[in-house]
């Protein structure tokens, strides 16, 4: 906010950014995105429940237990009789910071076990989603007729199976090191700190796609409905998604350009990283192609969707810039990186989550969210978002490093940091408006009816909120837009597919 601010001490700052990163990725984004999938996928493929309801509950409680363990570290991090503590090794937990010598006490163990346990929860849900999507579709719903959301969740779950597990494996190794005296990441016994970095990012980069593919899924449902056109290029969208998931498995070391890998490795990871941009670009063009010539309705979900398109484009472009290795050497560990990934996670994923809330809230509760408060939330959040994260790019270019709790005056960072802080407050006000909207509309919102948006997928066929069994009788479908066929029997989609 201003130079020499020491509102938080360095130790507390380390704990804060560790808890912030861990919470946002593992205990906000993952549960909320898996939660949407859990709720929407059975509805959209015409099933009564997930394939394994007990596994579903088990996965949920595992994730909840993980969250509880993480926050318990505030109390028990240094033993129950010690002072309050929290993990302070960063969400990436690089070795040797996590070694017993540098992380005494239990807070690092709480971090490890919390993330490990919630990871098992995520894997359980991924298994469940795959089995649900492949084995529970209603009659007539071939793979080629599934809503895009199901396709994207299928891809994301497949990616989760092989993306989350490497972290679980590495964390088991870390526990062996910390409790059994192992040497996996112990450089003094010949172990390698770099190996942890590889294992972490073999998880860490696919994780970004595990989070963003559901955001793509929301976009692919919301943009067509509010453009009043079917999605443009359905098969290409599916192919691009699978392609993104595949390529994203081989880009991890672009997080590690500065550690001094050989130039072949650097080139390989630079090329694969740039290659991810191609299928992602295809998706953006397809969404634009869907909007092109449509009768666009600027309802709140669509506002967030349009902002998503702009912001995610910029996030992608700054990502491709950093794939150039020399450029990354300059900017790695600077605020430019912070700006880039917050553009992805807030500007992209969080905006998509907001769009999804406004779009599906009527289905979940039977009440509409207020459009007036929604528009206010949208504008506050867009303004706050850009005030916070746009200037960070410049702070990074001016050399401001990441993970510093305060800074010296006279480096040209003062005004930038002030603007960033103001933006953060505006975002917070926007979130308050959103929460107020969620609460007020639950009782006061207009009745939604079954199908408030005149949409085309199966969840809008049943009542709002849907009964526990979703559908009284299992529907049979003949096209990708079953409700269009139902509403327009004279000109059904099934005639053209």
């Amino acid at each position: 906010m201003y130079p020499h601010n020491d509102f938080v001490s360095p130790q507390v700052f380390n704990r804060m950014f560790t808890m912030h990163g861990t919470t946002m990725i593992f205990f906000f984004a993952m549960p909320i995105l898996f939660g949407f999938g859990n709720y929407l996928v059975p509805l959209m493929i015409g099933a009564r429940d997930m394939a394994f309801p007990r596994l579903n509950a088990f996965s949920f409680w595992l994730s909840a237990l993980g969250g509880f363990l993480l926050y318990f570290s505030f109390l028990g991090g240094s033993g129950l009789y010690g002072a309050g503590s929290a993990p302070d090794v960063g969400w990436w937990a690089y070795a040797p910071l996590t070694a017993r010598a540098f992380s005494p006490g239990s807070s690092t163990d709480y971090w490890t076990i919390a993330v490990l346990v919630s990871g098992f929860g995520s894997i359980g849900t991924a298994v469940n989603l795959i089995a649900t999507i492949l084995c529970m579709r209603c009659p007539g719903m071939t793979l080629g007729r599934m809503p895009l959301l199901s396709w994207l969740y299928l891809t994301m779950s497949g990616l989760a199976l092989i993306g989350i597990t490497p972290l679980s494996a590495a964390q088991l190794m870390l526990l062996v090191d910390r409790y059994l005296g192992g040497h996996f990441f112990d450089t003094q016994a010949g172990g390698s700190a770099t190996l942890w970095m590889h294992f972490f990012w073999i998880f860490g980069h696919p994780e970004v796609y595990i989070l963003v593919i559901p955001a793509f899924a929301f976009m692919s449902e919301i943009i067509p409905v509010f453009s009043r056109k079917p999605i443009f290029g359905y098969p290409v969208m599916v192919a691009a998604t699978v392609c993104i998931a595949f390529v994203s498995m081989s880009v991890w070391a672009h997080h590690m350009f500065t550690i001094g890998m050989n130039s072949y490795a650097n080139s390989f990871f630079a090329i694969t990283t740039m290659a991810v941009g191609v299928p992602t670009g295809i998706k953006i063009f397809n969404w634009l192609g869907t909007m092109w010539g449509g009768r666009i309705q600027f309802k709140t979900p669509m506002l967030f969707a349009i902002a998503f398109l702009f912001q995610f484009l910029i996030a992608g472009l700054t990502g491709i810039i950093q794939a150039a290795v020399p450029f990354d050497w300059q900017l790695s560990l600077s605020y430019f990186v912070v700006a880039h990934f917050h553009y992805v996670i807030v500007g992209g994923i969080l905006f998509a989550i907001f769009a999804a809330f406004y779009y599906w809230y009527p289905k979940v509760t039977g009440r509409m969210l207020s459009e007036r408060l929604g528009t206010l939330h949208f504008w506050l959040f867009v303004i706050g978002f850009h005030l916070t994260f746009d200037p960070m790019h410049f702070a990074g270019l001016l050399g401001m490093p990441r993970r510093i709790y305060t800074f010296e005056p006279g480096r040209g960072w003062d005004a930038i940091n002030l603007i960033v802080s103001i933006g953060a407050f505006i975002q917070a006000v926007g979130i308050l408006v959103f929460v107020a909207n969620l609460i007020l509309s639950y009782w006061k919102g207009a009745r939604a009816g079954n199908d408030p948006w005149d949409a085309w997928t199966l969840e809008w066929l049943t009542s709002s909120p849907p009964p526990a069994y979703n559908f009284a009788s299992i529907p049979t479908i003949a096209s990708r837009r079953p409700l269009w066929d139902l509403k327009h029997p004279e000109d059904p989609d099934s005639r053209y597919e």
Partner: protein, 202 residues
């Protein structure tokens, strides 16, 4: 790692016009196997990466003995569980029970072999998980596999208990088949672990 998702079976309206989809048990187990494979891959990579990098002894060549007999036991148990399933499908209860019991015995023998080897390594050669990098990676990789064998043996024993109580009928063939899939996976992992630890690693 090229396996991206479990094999996708395109469901079709078969000739009778019935909507048929793949079995969720098999798809679920296949997904779990994909996830488990990734975990084992990371442990195998760590083992290979640290091969010969221990700063002190003992080394694998000095202390490891190739467990041919116990490997033979474990791999045969894949055959016996397969034929146990076939017997159940054809409603041959006694054959099923016998082959199922044999599977458990073979799996148990394998675990006995692991226990003996660990005992020898710890008490004769003084190699523990904390001794050197070889100890850390060896016990973790073999231990992770042994953990999966143990989990499998527990599940097999539960089925044995149910079938002794007469509660396993040909109707349950689908579930037995899913369990067999897991057991085959555990055996297949041993082929990899065996190759890495006892062939490449010695």
């Amino acid at each position: 790692m090229s396996t991206f998702a479990p094999p996708i079976v395109e469901p079709t309206f078969d000739t009778a016009g019935v909507w048929s989809l793949p079995s969720r048990g098999k798809v679920g187990m296949a997904s779990l196997i994909v996830a488990e494979s990734a975990i084992f891959t990371i442990f195998v990579v760590a083992y290979l990466y640290y091969l010969g990098k221990s700063l002190s002894g003992p080394t694998p060549r000095e202390v490891l003995e190739v467990p041919i007999f116990y490997t033979f036991c474990l791999l045969s148990s894949s055959l016996t569980i397969h034929y146990a399933g076939k017997s159940l499908e054809r409603d041959k209860k006694r054959a099923f029970l016998g082959l199922w019991l044999l599977t458990i015995v073979l799996g148990g023998l394998f675990m006995f072999g692991t226990a003996r080897e660990w005992y020898r390594l710890i008490y004769e050669h003084g190699l523990t998980i904390a001794t050197n990098l070889f100890g850390t990676t060896y016990y973790s990789l073999v231990g992770l596999h042994a953990f999966h064998v143990t989990a499998g043996l527990i599940m097999l024993s539960i089925v044995l208990a149910f079938s002794l109580a007469g509660r396993v009928t040909p109707r349950h063939f689908g579930r037995i088949d899913v369990l067999a899939l897991y057991w085959h996976f555990v055996d297949a992992v041993w082929v990899v672990v065996f190759t890495v630890v006892y062939v490449i690693g010695r």
